[in-house]
Subunit: 220 residues, 2 copies
């Protein structure tokens, strides 16, 4: 054959899945193997191939599911927040506070971002404590940090990206995002200035799983 069996199976499956909504169940390794009359390892190779193409996600004990990927847009100008992008693409974003504590003049905030209830990103922010009293409650009310600074504290926030890159994640991030050993993440550093009080409000580092997000950078 011109092409290995597992790639033929993968391509055929990709064509069948191309218009399926995210979360759709894909047939199991055993079913796929039986249907194509191949060994289970060959069927597994096909599904692993689709996972590497970021088209499906595989979970031990559960199954294989169709994935959608969202563009994480960064730019020298204003760019949409990750949650806006996810919502625009038909997904459901959510963010949970993992840790929030004050040390001196700074509030340290850690949050986990979810896409359709799957862990997708981790954010670590340092905020000027005097500008954000009662942050936990304000976050719970407004959801995104940007919206909280904007509508909760009326700070007229202005985001500025400092750096973005692909890296092998630090141990804590890998653990938090339940990453396999060999996967990279998108890492970005973002500063937010308040046009209202004329000071920097916060500095955020964010790490995003590359199977949920695709990095797109634009310069004006």
């Amino acid at each position: 054959m011109a092409q290995p069996t597992y790639l033929t199976v993968a391509d055929q499956l990709e064509a069948a899945l191309i218009n399926q909504p995210a979360g759709t169940r894909v047939e199991s390794e055993h079913e796929l193997a039986r249907r194509h009359g191949v060994n289970r390892l060959t069927a597994k190779a096909a599904l692993d191939e689709l996972e590497q193409r970021h088209l499906v996600r595989r979970r031990r004990g559960s199954g294989t599911y169709v994935m959608h990927r969202y563009d994480y847009m960064l730019g020298s100008g204003p760019s949409p927040s990750w949650s806006e992008t996810v919502r625009a693409g038909g997904g459901t974003p959510r963010a949970d506070v993992v840790d929030l504590r004050r040390r001196g003049d700074t509030v340290h905030l850690r949050r986990l971002g979810y896409v359709n209830d799957d862990k997708a990103l981790f954010k670590q922010s340092e905020l000027a404590a005097d500008l954000v009293p009662g942050l936990r409650e304000a976050l719970a009310e407004h959801g995104s940090l940007y919206d909280t600074l904007d509508r909760g504290y009326h700070l007229r926030p202005h985001r500025r990206v400092e750096r973005a890159e692909l890296i092998r994640p630090p141990a804590e991030v890998a653990e938090r995002l339940e990453l396999k050993r060999n996967t990279e993440v998108i890492a970005a550093v973002i500063r937010t200035h308040s046009d209202h009080v004329g000071r920097e409000v916060e500095r955020t580092r964010v790490w995003l799983r590359t199977d949920f997000f695709r990095l797109v950078v634009t310069f004006t």
Copy 2:
């Protein structure tokens, strides 16, 4: 065991390779399997793991070799060219003209970039024909396109990145870079303005293999 065998083998091998120069030969699947008393597929899984971590490169019929990865830096300010980065990291960059033809007012240029004689990137440029007469010879003399515009034509070139992203490559690029089906590439669009003649000189699209380069974006 707390960890699968192939990951233990991979981690042990990674530790042994961490300070080896690029191009160093790694033991074969058969040797690795014999030395650890495991099946060849388990040894293969370990080496594939290291390949996914971008630490080695595997070639059928030849062997497994230590890889080095270079940062591809892009920014709103001036950033080093890929060849500078490679040279600074101890590698040897080279670029070959694949195709060069004139259509109307525009010169279409296609080049392949090599790192230590391995195909690593593909560039496609459109230049203002009147500004670069005898381009082929000038390129052969100066090497990099930027240097050619600068020292060959004295155009005082000024590079500006327009967009950078990670994508599944177009078919032609995948073929030119000999990519496996599932790998993404760094894609960027760069425009060069001539401060000397006050016009745009060229527009380049470049695609880089992610096993040779790591995308790093900085904003000033």
